[in-house]
Amino acid sequence: MPAVEAEKTSRFRGIGRRVISRLDKLSEEKTVAYSLYLASIVFFLGIILLPSLLGILLKLDTAMNVVTNPELLNRSFSAVFSSIIMAGIVSALDVAAGLPLAWIIARKKYRWLNIVDSLVDFPLIVPTVILGYSTLLLWCEETPFSIIGFTGVSPGFITVLLLHFAFSYPVVVRILAGKLMDIEATYEAAARTLGACPFTTARTITIPMLKSGIIASLILSFARSLSETGATIMVAGSFENGPVFIKKSIDAGLVPPMVFVSLVLIVLSILILAGLRLFGFKFRMPFRKAYRIEAALSREGVTRVRDLSAIIIFLFLVLLPACFMVLARMPLMLSYGLLGEIFTLRGAWSTYWISVLNSYVIALLTTLINVVFSLPTAVIITRRKLGGLVSRLLEALSTTSIIMPSVALGVSLSLFWGASGISDFILVLLAHLCITYPYMVATMVSVLEDIPVELEEAGRTLGGTPFKVFRSIVLPIAKYSFLSGVILTFTRSVNETGATLAVSKTFKTVSVLLVEWVKSPDMRVEAGAGTLVLMFLSIILLVIFRYIYTKGGGGLA
């Protein structure tokens, strides 16, 4: 290394070190810790919770219009019912189908499985509305399975189910695989030598240890299914759940259904999710015996079939829909020579690149801000820093902004911030913070829950400040789960459309732009090309990010 460069890096290091030691000093102060807790609670209430709910709270009186109108009331309830049923089925299927794949990824037996590992994040990169459109093409309009006699289904319950499964499945696999990697294989080995077959071991040892991850997965996929609007409308046909009903009413100029349905959905799902947390953590797998069927299920043939079906499910129900739109448009793209045009920065493509830049800036800021504020929140929740009641409340309320139908969230946010005259950039950032905050908190909580308190105690008694203990013990131990939280937040921000559209007409993220293109008949091929490029960019970004993280951030003592 040339001398100048070396000096530069060492100066850089010096500054880094000084910053770290300042933070160390600061973290020793109890007042600093409590100010941080306070700040994170203020952030949560003032930036996340209140603005999300305000639009609804302000129009609370209009909810009566729904209650007094039997027809609206009926439709509202049936929409809420459909939403909850759909979310329940989706989250259950997600965990059932996601667990085997997470297992394959975490306990990789073959090197080629690394490919599966990288592909899992792939559907997260695709803007949800594009996924919706893609789903529609794949299963209804241009199905490639016509070769084997499948002529496609008409849009409705099934397509919504397929769509919701496709966009929430990667999240679940990410969380569970992260968890599984953090759980040491020694416990499994111990159980195996004690005579338990793999299936029994999974049931009695690994899955109970995985519980916090399973609960986090259920909560996130449930909430995501409840709130997704844009893509759902695209594939809903005559099926009508909460968000679809709200969107239809708003488009028809009716606000009361939004207020009423959002309110009922929020209350019901907070109850359901709180119940899930409460009973989920109390629930113990029956331990009594090893069932004979478990030995049969552990046989190599059976596990191979299971692994294979997990991979097939992933490939056909998740990965294929994610890229089908691009695949279907590929021949046209090639014949137009579009791919060469993309990099010319002319016409539509300059708008495209600006929107890509917008998206990444927003996603980066969203992730950073959320890490800073959701960590203290997660500490309050898991370490009961402000008492058990505050923990419970905070945890239950922290999911509110992803339970809400995203249109309703968008409307609510623009009502709250709209009058303040802040720029559209900030508005979009605020919306993205609201949408991704619960993901970050949920993953942080499940990270912290699994770190033995004794390791933190050891760090403290050896003289480590809270910040030092966090950075050199907690973070490295939980790095896979932490990484998955960051990836989730980042990708979710990049592919968000519903709320972004609702808060700003002028500031365009790449997802919003692609949705516009998809909807205008003469831009559909460009939409395909744009999606393709976005996928490539995101994959490169994810790979770089992952590389830096596993090489650098982990081992710092």
Partner: protein
């Protein structure tokens, strides 16, 4: 110099009182052992001194400075966790350096210091291993080295030998007291193993249900237990319940349940007709010659000594320990009759505990 004082320290967890108004003073350079059954509050007490748990009330002083409320990392007291809590993602050397870099050492200096300390615990060649690659005994030594490296003068050890096998335990025991002496450390060592406490302690603190039952040198506690519980938990005793029949100066005559009469010396005022418990060390019971006739029921050969279980009339059992030399010389046959005596100068008499004898020693 670390001198530790606790004043009326209490701690509750919900309905459980883990510590109940503890007063305690430990001198500089002293090796204290806190002995007590599981759940008696030993860990809580240690963590309160370490600053890992805040007491509900009361104060902690280290070196004459009030440290209640001071965070753990600023106390200059280092706590070693029951199962070591080695950081799984760091090597042995990095584990040991942790406390040093936390104290502002540069990485290089920390590593050098770590390898010095590793020499003290004789693990020099394992510096780059990960904790999971070490045996239990080695992990224990790494944990100890990690504490020593911080340079803290007050060492708080929570059952440091609990996870080791018996042989190793003896070895490390010697090591511990050597290191404590050499580095002139003040050590508080929690254990539920009496022989560990007896052999290591300058001062022994006996705990039960969140209270301190007795403190003193090991000899004091051994020879002058102040309660049935002390006599039960330290050393091995035979307990005999009876009614006080006569008080003649210091000599108290006790009639046991089966009518057997024994005598004990006691300073406390006992009254005739009162219930009392006599405690005799198993090794103080004389086998061969004496007023009591008993049948040998059971022999436990334990190497350096043997445990003989005798039965008095009506099923009253007495256990006597006899040295190996005697066990070899004489013939002890199960079923045979023996004469026993209980020397009155070695018998301690206690008031009947409120929950009865069984309540006192079975609740443990």
């Amino acid at each position: 110099m670390p001198k530790v004082v606790l004043e009326r320290v209490s701690k509750r967890f919900g309905r459980i009182t883990a510590l109940d108004e503890i007063d305690l003073t430990l001198d500089d350079g002293e090796y204290s052992c806190i002995l007590g059954p599981t759940g008696s509050g030993k860990t809580t007490l240690l963590k309160i001194i370490a600053g890992l748990v805040e007491p509900d009330s009361g104060d902690v002083y280290i070196d004459g400075k009030r440290v209640t409320g001071t965070p753990a990392e600023k106390r200059n007291a280092v706590y070693m966790h029951q199962n070591y809590a080695l950081f799984p993602h760091l090597t042995v050397s990095q584990n040991i350096s942790f406390g040093l870099t936390a104290r502002g050492f540069e990485e290089e200096a920390a590593r050098r210091k770590a390898s010095e300390v590793l020499e003290i615990v004789k693990l020099g060649e394992w510096a780059n291993a990960y904790p999971r690659e070490l045996s239990g005994g080695m992990q224990q030594r790494v944990a100890l080295a990690r504490c020593l490296a911080t340079g803290a003068r007050l060492l708080l050890l929570d059952e440091p030998l609990g996870a080791l096998d018996a042989r190793l335990r003896l070895e490390v025991r010697g090591e511990l007291s050597r290191i404590a002496e050499e580095l002139n450390l003040t050590v508080i060592h929690v254990t539920h193993d009496q022989s560990e406490a007896l052999s290591l302690a300058d001062r022994l603190i006996l705990m039960r249900n969140g209270r301190i039952v007795q403190t003193g040198s090991p000899e004091e506690v051994y020879f002058k237990p102040n309660s049935v519980f002390s006599a039960y938990f330290v050393g091995e005793s035979v307990f005999l319940e009876g009614i006080v029949r006569r008080v003649d100066g210091r000599v108290v005559t006790l009639e046991l349940r089966n009518g057997t009469i024994i005598e004990a010396l006691s300073g406390d005022g006992f009254n005739r007709g009162e219930l009392a418990v006599a405690a005799v060390r198993c090794e103080d019971i004389k086998v061969g010659g004496g007023p009591l006739t008993a049948r040998l029921k059971e022999i436990n050969f334990l190497g350096s000594f043997s445990k003989l279980v005798f039965e008095l009339p009506e099923g009253l059992k007495i256990t006597a320990n006899i040295p190996l030399s005697r066990f070899i010389e004489e013939e002890f046959r199960i079923g045979a009759s023996f004469q026993l005596s209980i020397p009155r100068e070695r018998t301690r008499l206690f008031k009947q505990p409120p929950m009865g004898l069984a309540g006192e020693i079975e609740a443990v």
